[in-house]
Amino acid sequence: METTLGQNLGDTHHDHGPASGIGRWLFTTNHKDIGTLYLWFSLLMFLTGGTMALLIRAELFQPGLQLVQPEFFNQMTTMHGLIMVFGAVMPAFVGLANWLVPMMIGAPDMALPRMNNWSFWILPFAFAMMISTLFMEGGAPNFGWTFYAPLSTTYAPPSVTFFIFAVHMMGISSIMGAINVIATILNLRAPGMTMMKLPLFVWSWLITAFLLIAVMPVLAGVVTMMLMDIHFGTSFFNAAGGGDPVLFQHVFWFFGHPEVYIMILPAFGIISEIIPTFARKRLFGYASMVYAIASIAILSFLVWAHHMFTVGLPLAGELFFMFATMLIAVPTGVKVFNWVATMFRGSLTFETPMLFALAFVVLFTIGGFSGLMLAIAPADFQYHDTYFVVAHFHYVLVPGAIFSIMAATYFWLPKWTGHMINERMGKIHFWLSFVGVNITFFPMHFVGLAGMPRRIPDYALQFADFNSVASVGAFIFGFSQLLFLYNVIACIRGGARATDRVWEGAHGLEWTLPSPAPYHSFSQPPVVK
């Protein structure tokens, strides 16, 4: 076969299987292959960022400086945050979207398959560049994942330039990925698959993709202004020239807050698929779930300054952002209520995905409530930049976003591989993770309320006990993720044969396909009644 540059590789016929060798993964245009790439990449980043977290927790096991220098500690907190947000959580959700959206809406593939490949393959290069800064002169970025100016401009290490370009690459990747998801959902639905019949995972991704396209360019804008300030003599974030460091925070959080929802809306979608399956009931309040996601997305553009209550905002701003933030509790409450109502009088069973989903509902709600506490501006004056904030966002991101990703993996893995997961091992993984997560993050509420600041390698003696508990929990949680890796590999390599429907209560087009799903999902669209 002719394989010179510019020639089409492989034939143009639709029904062939995957190519062989490494070329399959490098040149693929198949949504399942690309989804797999995203998911493995995300797992690799999760373990990398997790190792950094364990370094942080090891240092914080005791007061005083034991293992690392403060400069390196700062690099670890920064890289941990960046890798987990941009390398682990976001690519995992994009990977799930790639695998599932076409199967769920009855499409043959993603709308723009070549661009889909490009969206993925930018990421390994971007992260290689970002992680390489650890070995550069002056070390990696050390200003926190929020990279506030002037820490990230005037006082930044030279590697900040590479950080900026890495963020640009991630942004390009995310925007193209999101455009693909939107085009697929809007244009490739099977006949009869009307918008209000879409599975909630698809709805949540449609809205997430909109958020991504709206805010990733703003992130590109803010890092560009940083680059200009650092190297080209402008004064965007420098008051000496009439600019304002607070401006950085405004632009960053205009991106950052919707970004937070980018990392949780697909989780809502996943949970809304899993709970009805194992409750063997239809989802309670489908339409209200859709409207709730949309409301949360719209509100996410109006609440950014609640991250900045202590920076010196005008009173009107403090009030506006406080009340707007508290409004978000309403649609979020609708969602939690609907999940609980779905389970009410259902025929519940507790397979591994369901356990993760249930833990999500409970623990994410705890994170939501601590968020509500932080939303109250006068109270936030006390909590700001303490471990209470760390506890809050780790509750929504770890037993929130990460648990939902694990739930999704266990839920759809039989469809992807054709093998059932080992329930026993899945449950062990769940319980170790559940216990580990709570031991790690719950004590952080207490040390935070007692005044322990975040992003500091050393602390006062009175915080010692809770910190050592948190560190023990972190190691339990961290090492039990190796079980997750084992479970996934074991499921790929073998196990009981999965039926097409896989789970007794499962509904949706993806369960009408054979397990494992064929390389090309729906060459001819199914008709949805």
Partner: protein
């Protein structure tokens, strides 16, 4: 809603090569800029950056050539066409948000940051940083004139910027006339009006370059001139880059018209570029209003 089977392209080498190109550009630019700031040799940086750029350009040429071939051999259904339309629309929306970040910056410094520094408003206490600093816009005297010497003069909106507005707005009309001609199948008219559009875009760029030259050499309006210069150059600079890209796109479309690639029914490539051109035009109107006049 899909009915016919949808074209899923076979494996392709373009995306992975494009990722490598993007990496070379980013890594090269990082090396280059750091070397420039540190005053060390910029050779490696330039080499990587230009190699990446060259690679990306040849990839874009090859990738688009693939798409053009596929399109012209009739592999794209109407549904495929809609995917392209959604794709381009959302891409333009992302560009709108990119500019929104800089417009937001401009509004924030004008209406909040600079007045506060001058002692006005609720956070006027920040005046204690530079006592006696007076808020004004355009900001001619910065708080620290040694580090950020403010501009001596600013650009009058009623000379070159007004001319540029006329040029760019009329180019939006000429490209629409060309589109009308395309729908009627009138080749010579398409070629004429599209060429005129390119000419208008190119003359805009020439005048813009002249304006920058004047700003730097006669008005003291530079990137270092405090926040006025910073917002001025980032907004007009990124707009200028987009006009440059748009003009190149128009030239390619013009060449494709000459080669007879478009039919009255089937010409999304043309439309996408026209949409982009209108977007660039609208941004300019915003610039003219908020950067130059007000």
């Amino acid at each position: 809603m899909s009915t016919a089977s949808y074209y899923v392209p076979p494996q392709s080498r373009w995306p992975i090569l494009a990722s490598i190109a993007l990496f070379l550009i980013a890594f090269g630019a990082g090396n280059l800029i750091n070397a420039m700031s540190a005053g060390t040799s910029t050779g490696t940086g330039w080499l990587l950056f230009l190699a990446g750029l060259l690679l990306l350009l040849s990839i874009l040429f090859g990738w688009f050539r693939n798409v053009v071939h596929e399109s012209m051999s009739g592999m794209y259904s109407e549904q495929m066409d809609r995917s392209f339309r959604w794709g381009m629309s959302w891409f333009i929306f992302s560009e709108v948000m990119f500019f929104a970040a800089f417009f937001g910056t401009l509004f924030y410094v004008r209406n909040l940051a600079v007045p506060w520094l001058g002692g006005e408003g609720e956070k006027g206490v920040s005046n204690m940083l530079w006592e006696g600093f007076q808020a004004q816009w355009p900001l001619m005297t910065t708080p620290d004139m040694e580090r950020f010497p403010g501009p001596e003069q600013i650009i009058s909106p009623w000379h070159l910027p007004l001319l540029n507005t006329i040029l760019l707005v009329s180019s939006s009309f000429t490209v629409t006339i060309a589109h009308k001609a395309l729908k009627l199948g009138n080749r010579s008219n398409i070629v004429l009006w599209l060429a005129l559009t390119v000419l208008l875009g190119a003359s805009f760029l020439v005048f813009q370059a002249y304006e920058y030259f004047e700003a730097y050499h006669e008005l003291g309006l530079t990137l270092h001139a405090g926040i006025y210069g910073a917002t001025f150059f980032i907004l007009t600079g990124f707009h200028g880059m987009h006009v440059t890209l748009g003009t190149l796109m128009l030239i390619i479309i013009w060449l494709r018209v000459l080669k007879g690639h478009f039919s009255p029914q089937h010409h999304f490539g043309f439309e996408a570029v026209a949409w982009y051109w209108h977007f660039v035009d609208v941004v300019w109107v915003g610039l003219f209003l908020f950067v130059y006049i007000l």
